[in-house]
């Protein structure tokens, strides 16, 4: 099955918006991380779609790079969540327990 | 003449030496500062002496590359106006150091270093003819003074120093805009990128553009002079500064404003200045009356003197914008005389505060029997400040009013009305501080002025008297040299004198 690049871009945009919305409305840090992954994947999808439009491999190259980034980000992100926990933060709620402000 | 650089570098070197000396002994910086000032006076005397006779209005010149990529040079030129103000700077530095700063106990090395650094900056302002160099000195002289006020000032020093710095720096940025605007326009016209005063003076400017650029300069100098309503930093700053700072501020720093108005507003933008003159004259008259009026209402003696400065320097604004050689000369004499008289008054106010631990006139009174010498000098300088004929202030005010009358009699009448108010506040100050009966049960024994104070203040008095009775040397020097051709005879005024302007 083939889809027009424009449609793929539309899908990517929706995914992206969904991810952004997730970051904005979820309070759980884990879910926020996942939302970011969604956004990254939306961008990756957009690259693939664009590459399809121009019949070039650049889009796929970019996709691979983004995949690597997403993986790295997930790893580092989870490590930081552990650090947060080790530092004494009781919950994964992003809105409570913030010390840095003002 | 390479010695011009020395006028800036010598005080800087002195500053460094004083700072180092301060680490050795608490009294050493004072001696270093005195020595520096003596050397500086000697250097200035040499510069004055070395001026070639009949060499045109520009008396000395020196130049060296600085930032060639942007056409910025270390160019300094000196004309009579600069020379007069340099001498004023040196002359007022002596009372600062001799009378006020000897007893500074807290970090005397740093204090004297900052004082000398300020003097270096002021010297630079008076000789720089590269606009960027001028702006550099203009900003540079603020920093040490800011520190002086912040650290050694009186109770509300923080706010005062802040205000001082923000006003002068903020308006300085406007001037920077104007400088750069002028440079860019000049570059656009000729393809030459330069900050040179003489070259930039030849730029052709459309009237609105010239007005806009002139206003940038005007605001910066108007803040410094100060011109009502941009004066609000001055009373606070003068009140809160340590005595030496007040003397330096009133005596010298404010004069950079007047100098700038002459050198960079009227002479760089003669046409725009003429069109702006009505506004400036009105502001000058407003300053004279408003400053005097508020001076009358003050209970703080230093604040009173500060507002009187606002009033006196309104005459400078009048003179500069009266558009004639007469007014220009009057403005210069007024600047010198104001420096001497108000500087001395600040010395006296500072001495009073040292003795009484208050500046509040409501808590003074009847001091004459307790401090006859101090009171007598106070009276003398108050009288000078109210413009008694025979003293320097009168010469300045008269020439300014005469020049103003030619342009606009109503403004001159308002200015003359300021003379009445000046008598009012000066005599009120004397009456409240020295005359009448002491509050409570009289004053305890207070140390009167000794020989050192009387000598220095007596010298100031003698200078004022000389200026009042034989001002011709200053008058001859005071006509600023024109930027255009240095060969033009000095006598022709920058703007044609004459009857009322339409």
């Amino acid at each position: 099955m083939t889809a027009a690049p424009a449609q793929a871009l539309l899908l990517a945009s929706m995914l992206f918006a969904l991810g952004l919305l997730g970051v904005l409305v979820r309070r759980n840090l884990l879910f926020m991380l996942m939302s970011i992954e969604i956004m990254l994947n939306a961008a990756a999808l957009a690259f693939v779609a664009a590459g399809m439009r121009w019949h070039a491999a650049d889009g796929q190259v970019m996709f691979l790079m983004i995949l690597a980034l997403a993986a790295a980000e997930a790893a580092v992100g989870l490590a930081i969540l552990l650090r947060l926990h080790a530092a004494g933060r009781p919950t994964l709620d992003a809105d409570t327990g913030n010390r840095l402000k003002g | 003449m390479i010695a011009l650089y020395g006028l800036v570098l010598l005080p800087l070197a002195g500053a460094a030496a004083a700072w180092l000396a301060g680490r050795a002994s608490p009294r050493a910086p004072w001696s270093v500062a005195i020595a520096t000032l003596v050397l500086l006076a000697g250097l200035l005397a040499y510069v004055t002496h070395a001026v070639p006779a009949g060499g045109g209005p520009w008396l000395a010149h020196v130049s060296a590359p600085w930032i060639p990529a942007l056409g910025i040079t270390l160019r300094c030129d000196m004309d009579g106006l600069g020379l007069v103000l340099l001498w004023l700077t040196v002359a007022l530095s002596f009372p600062c150091v001799l009378l006020s700063s000897r007893d500074i106990a807290d970090a005397p090395g740093t204090f004297h270093a900052l004082l000398l650094a300020t003097i270096a900056g002021v010297d630079g302002v008076f000789i720089a003819t590269d606009l960027f160099l001028f702006f550099f000195f203009w900003e540079l002289m603020l920093v040490p003074l800011y520190v002086l006020i912040t650290v050694w000032g009186h109770e509300d020093r923080t706010r005062a120093a802040f205000k001082f710095f923000l006003f002068t720096q903020g308006s300085g940025l406007l001037m920077l805009l104007s400088i750069l605007g002028l440079v860019v326009v000049h570059q656009h016209q000729t393809g030459v990128l330069t900050f040179d005063y003489f070259t930039l003076a030849t730029t052709h400017l459309s009237p609105p553009l010239a007005m806009g650029l002139m206003l940038g300069f005007f605001v910066a100098f108007a803040v410094k002079l100060p011109v009502v309503p941009l004066h609000v930093w001055l009373p606070d700053t003068h009140t809160q500064a340590p005595t030496a700072g007040s003397v330096l501020l009133a005596g010298v720093l404010l004069k950079t404003g007047g100098y700038g108005l002459i050198r960079f507003v009227v002479l760089l933008f003669p046409d725009a200045a003429v069109r702006f003159a009505p506004v400036a004259l009105a502001l000058g008259a407003l300053g004279i009356l408003y400053g005097a009026w508020l001076a009358l209402m003050q209970d703080d003696i230093k604040r009173l003197i500060a507002y009187s400065s606002v009033s006196h320097l309104g005459f400078v604004l009048l003179g500069v914008f009266s558009g004639s050689a007469l007014g220009m000369a009057g403005a210069v004499v007024q600047m010198v005389a104001h420096g001497l008289s108000t500087g001395a008054l600040f010395v006296i106010a500072g001495a009073l505060q040292d003795r009484l631990h208050t500046r509040d006139l409501r808590r003074m009174g009847g001091l004459w029997p307790a401090l006859p010498h101090l009171s007598a000098t106070g009276l003398v300088f108050a009288i000078a400040s109210l413009g008694l004929p025979g003293l320097g202030n009168f010469v300045g005010e008269f020439l300014v009013l005469l020049a103003t009358w030619r342009v606009s009699p109503p403004i001159a009448i308002l200015g003359a009305a300021g003379l009445v108010l000046s008598a009012l506040y000066a005599l009120t100050m004397i009456g409240r501080a020295f005359l009448g009966s002491p509050p409570g049960d009289g004053w305890a024994a207070l140390p009167d002025f000794g020989a050192r104070h009387m000598t220095v203040l007596g010298a100031a008095m003698a200078l004022l008297l000389a200026l009042g009775l034989y001002p011709q040397p200053v008058l001859d020097l005071s006509l600023p040299a024109l930027p255009h051709d240095a060969a033009r005879p000095i006598a022709s005024p920058p703007v044609a004198p004459g009857g009322p302007r339409p």
């Binding site: 840090l29 889009g59 980034l69 | -």
Partner: protein
């Protein structure tokens, strides 16, 4: 295939190569030491220190070599590599600044990173530097993206470096979430741009395709958003204060200096071929962001009592100033941006170095009376703040004047008005710090950081440089002007054709 890869290596810019090699060496060193059986926990200190010193020496040598590598007579990248890297003078200048700053940060964290073992920190520092250099030199969205993410990820590690410090973890968390979000936005924008043009070259925002104008616009905006976030330009600045506050001081310096230099160099390259003088979309966007950054950053700093947060506000404001320079295309614009970048880097780095050498807490109150307690330190910090405030004789004075000159010559009156107003606000808080240091010292001295030779040398060098370049900016001006010589005539003639002050715009 490996052979083919190796064959392309000489085409890479030398600093990138050197940094990568250094990282490998350091990795090896750490791996060797880490594989050794470690003794009792108490007895490892000396050895650890020894190892850390070795790591630091390797890092320093790497950075030094990379810096020297800038002068390598390598031919400019050709072939495929040319599509990835633009090893031009601007890159060399930016890289030079990045490497010098990294060297400075290394000096600050010479042996320890806020009380922790620092060998992995050195590794992350080198990685971050590599990322910054790559991002600064990238001519391609791929290279830019890789460099940027290398930088971001290593920064995450550095920010969270101190274990069991809640602030550090929180700062890292915030940076993680926000940087992830902004990376996604940036990537999406790049994807849209790619979809629009079919070209991944990272040189210019796509020209609007008449068929799909919204796409190009969205691409430009999204890319700019991503860049602005990393530059911490308002209104995308909110993370900066928290991150600088929570991170160890050298890392704060890294975030405020190195990553901003890299991003600004990239931003400038992104717009190198675009005419920013008009009211085009990116110009408008940049102008709004510049005004918001200048005013907002200074206001933010105005209300701070925490020096790190204050410097964060200051840093935001300076990004605004840099954007003014960027927007002021003309004879001075590019030169002034380059000059300002150097002035900003020196002063900010110096300020953070002074913070690192000062009291443990970055509270302003802890600095009260510092002129009496540690005059040299207070003087150094004052010089840095003077430079940031733009007061002579520090270099920041000339730098700001240079930017104003650029703005005037490009008739950016509104921007200049904002610059002046915000500079005056800025003066307040810089002076306030100086004033507090000049106030009489309180009776109880705050706990001070241990004296460190590296920091002292760094501070002295930076203070000297700040003053010397401030007094004699000529050579550096020459250099920064020369950076853009080829580009100047075009814009200059463009500016001249319009004539000065005839049509005032943003």
């Amino acid at each position: 295939m490996i052979a083919a890869l190796v064959a392309t290596l000489p085409d890479m810019p030398m600093p990138v190569l050197v940094l990568a090699a250094g990282i490998l060496v350091l990795l090896l060193a750490i791996a060797c030491r880490g594989s050794r059986p470690s003794g009792a926990a108490g007895g490892t200190d000396d050895r650890t220190d020894g190892g850390t010193v070795a790591g630091a020496i390797i890092s320093a040598a790497t950075i030094a070599l990379a810096f020297i590598g800038l002068w390598s007579p390598a031919s400019p990248p050709s072939g495929g590599m040319a599509r990835l890297f633009a090893a031009d003078a601007w890159f060399a200048y930016g890289t030079g600044l990045i490497l010098l700053s990294s060297g400075g940060i290394l000096a600050m964290s010479w042996r320890r990173m806020a009380g922790e073992r620092a060998d992995e920190a050195h590794l992350l520092l080198l990685l971050g530097t590599l990322g910054a250099v790559v991002a600064a030199g990238s001519a391609n969205a791929v290279a830019f993206f890789v460099g940027l993410e290398t930088l971001s990820l290593s920064l995450l590690g550095l920010i969270a470096y101190r274990p069991r410090v809640p602030d550090a973890a929180e700062a890292a968390m915030k940076y993680l979430v926000l940087s992830g979000t902004s990376s996604a936005i940036l990537l999406f924008g790049l994807a849209l741009a790619y979809a629009e043009t079919g070209d991944l070259r990272f040189t210019a925002p796509p020209a609007a395709n008449p068929a799909e104008p919204a796409l190009a616009v969205a691409a430009t905006i999204l890319v700019l958003t991503g860049l602005f976030f990393k530059l911490s330009a308002a209104p995308f600045h909110l993370w900066l204060a928290d991150v600088l506050d929570g991170a160890p001081t050298p890392v704060s310096a890294f975030v405020a200096v190195v990553s901003k230099i890299a991003l600004f160099v990239a931003l400038a390259r992104y717009f190198a071929m675009t005419d920013l003088t008009g009211t085009s979309l990116p110009a408008q966007d940049l102008a709004v962001v510049a005004v918001l950054s200048m005013v907002g950053g200074n206001l933010l700093a105005f209300g701070q009592t925490n020096l790190k947060r204050l410097l964060a506000g200051s840093s935001i404001a300076h990004v605004g100033y840099l954007l003014v320079a960027l927007l002021s295309a003309g004879p001075f614009g590019a030169g002034s941006a380059a000059f300002y970048l150097a002035a900003y880097a020196a002063a900010t780095l110096g300020a953070f170095a002074a913070l690192g050498a000062g009291p443990d807490r970055p509270d302003l109150a802890a600095w009260r009376g510092m002129f009496h307690r540690r005059p040299a330190l207070a003087l150094a910090l004052s010089v840095m703040l003077l430079s940031l405030a733009g007061i002579p004789p520090a270099v920041g004075f000339f730098a700001k004047a240079y930017i104003v000159a650029a703005g005037v010559s490009a008739h950016r009156m509104l921007l200049l008005a904002a610059l002046i107003v915000s500079s005056i606000i800025g003066l307040c808080y810089y002076l306030n710090v100086a004033r507090i240091m000049m106030a009489p010292a309180p009776d109880t001295a705050p706990a001070m950081a241990a004296r460190s030779g590296g920091t002292t040398v760094l501070l002295a060098a930076l203070a000297l440089a700040t003053l010397l370049i401030g007094l004699f900016p000529g050579p550096l001006v020459q250099r920064t002007t020369a950076l853009f010589l080829p580009a100047v005539p075009a814009t200059e003639t463009a500016a001249r054709a319009r004539g000065p002050f005839e049509n005032m715009r943003w």
